[in-house]
Symmetry: C2
Subunit: 450 residues, 2 copies
């Protein structure tokens, strides 16, 4: 018969089992952590009415979107999780309890030009807290705690959550009489890390038409650095001149004041006045997260406070705060850099049972006993030579092989072989379960290396 | 501003948080159970090259598929998880260890005519075991154990896994000289439950051109019933006349012989000669699963043994066995019939902490302590009246509210209120964690009612 050469589209991540297992573990950390903070899992359709998805419009989005007709319907695949959330909250406004906290870990689609490390289908892992009309700033203070637990859950310690407040920036630009230009200025300042202070100064003067004095004031302001206490003290010097600024500083102080109570160590957190986030809809606290030893990766978790989630769909102010992790890209980069812990077991089973007798019933019963103890067990059923069976166990990477021959059955025991050390012990099923469970717990290293 | 009325496309399930929580719990049971049996999680793209997805062709599929162009690419959304699996195994043949066991719980897309209870986007929860050239029948014997654990995990006891073997049917039709017509006959017999024996007999004679004698032989054969032992005994009477039949009976006996070892009670399993499954590619054991008290739902988990998973992509025989649960439809029907246990907690948090003092730090610290004990905690941060706070707790459906006022703080305690009984106790944080954990464990009923 004529065959079609199988392939996976470029820009679409499709992992081999052992890698997939690591991605699943990262997702499990995300689900568990988000749940610990009272976020409800949400699942929205991947396909939406194109008119609704594009309500906000915008150039780049529209070019990248997967949009198609089916019958009379104008459909599109979601390109982020925020627009579907806005639609969801507007649609179900009367049925939801506010503040509404949801997490969503789902794939989104962008038909970008394919290039290394860019994906057309990728997971985002988002949380948002949406208020009805109002939302207390304490919610903004809680976000760093969630980011902290997520990255600690991944096994990391060398990361930093960088926080700023857009009101501080807006207020500061107000002091300089540059309120009108603040969006433009922030987008320029946001490039500081990439292009350096000199180029930022040039753009501020040439493109934004600032005076040299204004540009210098701005560069001086965003150069404020030091410990959190030092930065806050420096900011105190600007108070009393602009209400928005003062409000922003109060919010920032609330966020930093509760860090210790939230269990976030000082070294994992920094007030950083250079963080602005490009998007115009952020209005308060903004977040970025960097891996200290891998700054070239850029921010691995970003977000902020906004005032109007769903203004395109509903006539209600719905302020919120949220963060997003670009999981597929993060996973890709970690893998490229060899940071996914290779020592961590990533086999589909903890133990492979190898029956050595004709009647499989004793091996079947043993498999079920171990499974009832929570051990992931594969029963090897193929009629192969012993060497081939062991080579399969090796290829799968299972931590334990369990051999069951006539001798073992006669003694009511089984032989448990540690595939890494080669050590083999004869144990009762209950002992075997305990032995394997303990071995697995002992070998529970970090997901990601530093 | 002009607003767009938010809506979700018809045929797309979008759940409110409490229902979503129940669906997530079903998915968790599926993931955990599939993992216990050594299946690796797999995640393939939702979009594939249309040529590859439609390699097999076929009328209905092609009409229902979401297919669209992006640039020069002819793309389509997957309509099942089997074709992507076939592509995956063919593409990664050299990198996989066989038998290859994978599970995938993902959405698939079919642009069917919208009607009540039919979905255009729906979850399938599939497992498959793929052999390289050969696959031992013991794998087929293991499938009922997995189905059993899944439905027990859902909280059900009143279900039955019905098993047949296509070789028995093919061999039997061979005895009657009807090999050529066996596909046609099986598709007709498959309708027995729906249209009754008389109509089946009429179709067999009128459309399949069988003699009345042949039709009666077939109806007599598929009417064989009784305990598993009785059915097997009756089938023994047909042996020695057709090799395929004899092989099928041997396989069926292997499947039934190991049930006890696999821990499947007799009452949850039945050899049922009327089960054929419509699809031509099944070649051995076939499975259906019915909820005994809700037969109108039809089979909730079906599948079988096949000989060639990926013949359209690779010149290697890849036999396998698999089952599929149409999760979205199952969830929809269970919900419609009121069978999703309403008593099961489905709030996003186990406890809602209500700070009663101006400084939130003690409440924040308490929240983190409870979270570290594994309790899902939401910190209520809004400045509202006490009554409004309690009404929010009610609306969320949290099992516990935790109040923290000056008195409690002074004593190093907190007040834990059971939202169902109304009972309130003052406890230290550690006692509160234990109290809540115990209460949650006590209220851990079945996911699905019978």
């Amino acid at each position: 018969m004529e065959r079609i050469k199988p392939r996976t589209l470029s820009g679409f991540m499709e992992l081999l089992p052992q890698k997939q297992q690591k991605l699943e573990k990262m997702m499990e950390v995300l689900r568990n952590t988000y749940s610990l903070y009272g976020f409800a899992p949400l699942d929205t359709p991947a396909i939406e009415d194109a008119q609704i998805l594009l309500a906000k419009g915008g150039g780049e989005t529209e070019k990248q979107i997967y949009r198609f007709q089916k019958g009379d319907s104008d459909l599109a695949l979601r390109f982020d999780l925020t627009v579907p959330l806005a639609k969801y909250v507007a649609l179900h406004y009367n049925e939801l309890a506010f503040p509404f906290r949801r997490y969503q870990i789902s794939k989104v689609y962008r038909g970008e030009r394919a290039q290394r490390g860019r994906f057309r289908e990728f997971y985002q892992a988002d949380i948002d807290i949406i208020g009805d009309g109002k939302l207390d700033v304490l919610n903004e203070a809680e976000i760093p705690a969630i980011i902290y637990r997520v990255f600690r859950g991944f096994g990391l310690t060398r990361f930093q959550i960088r926080v700023n407040n857009r009101k501080i920036l807006n207020g500061f630009y107000g002091m300089l009489g540059l309120t009108e230009k603040s969006g433009e200025i922030m987008r320029t300042v946001d490039k500081l890390d990439k292009i350096g202070a000199d180029k930022v100064r040039t753009i501020l003067m040439d493109d934004c038409a600032l005076t040299g004095e204004q540009a210098d004031e701005i560069l001086k302001f965003i150069a404020i650095s030091g410990t959190n206490a030092e930065v806050l003290a420096a900011l105190e010097g600007y108070t009393g001149r602009n209400e928005i600024f003062d409000l922003g500083l109060t919010e920032l102080k609330t966020v930093t004041a509760n860090l210790a109570a939230f269990g976030v160590p000082e070294e994992n957190f920094a007030v950083d006045l250079t963080i602005a986030r490009g998007l115009d809809y952020y209005t308060g606290t903004v977040y970025e997260t960097t891996l200290l030893d891998h700054p070239q990766i850029g921010s691995v978790c970003s977000g902020g406070r906004y005032d109007n989630l769903a203004e395109y769909y509903i006539d209600k102010p719905l302020p919120g705060v949220g963060i997003s992790i670009g999981l597929t890209r993060l996973f890709y980069v970690l893998d490229e850099q060899g940071l996914l812990n290779p020592e961590l077991p990533s086999a589909p089973a903890d133990a492979l049972i190898l029956p050595m007798t004709e009647d499989p019933a004793p091996a079947v019963a043993l498999a079920e006993q171990l499974r009832s103890a929570g051990i992931r067990v594969q029963l090897y059923a193929e009629q192969k030579k012993f060497k081939q069976k062991m080579s399969y166990a090796d290829k799968l990477g299972v931590p334990y092989a369990v051999l069951l021959g006539e001798d073992e059955i006669a003694e009511g025991k089984c032989s448990v072989k540690d595939m890494r050390s080669g050590e083999q012990v004869k144990l009762t099923p209950a002992e075997a379960a305990a032995h394997i469970t303990k071995g697995l717990a002992d070998n529970n290293g970090p997901l990601i290396l530093e």
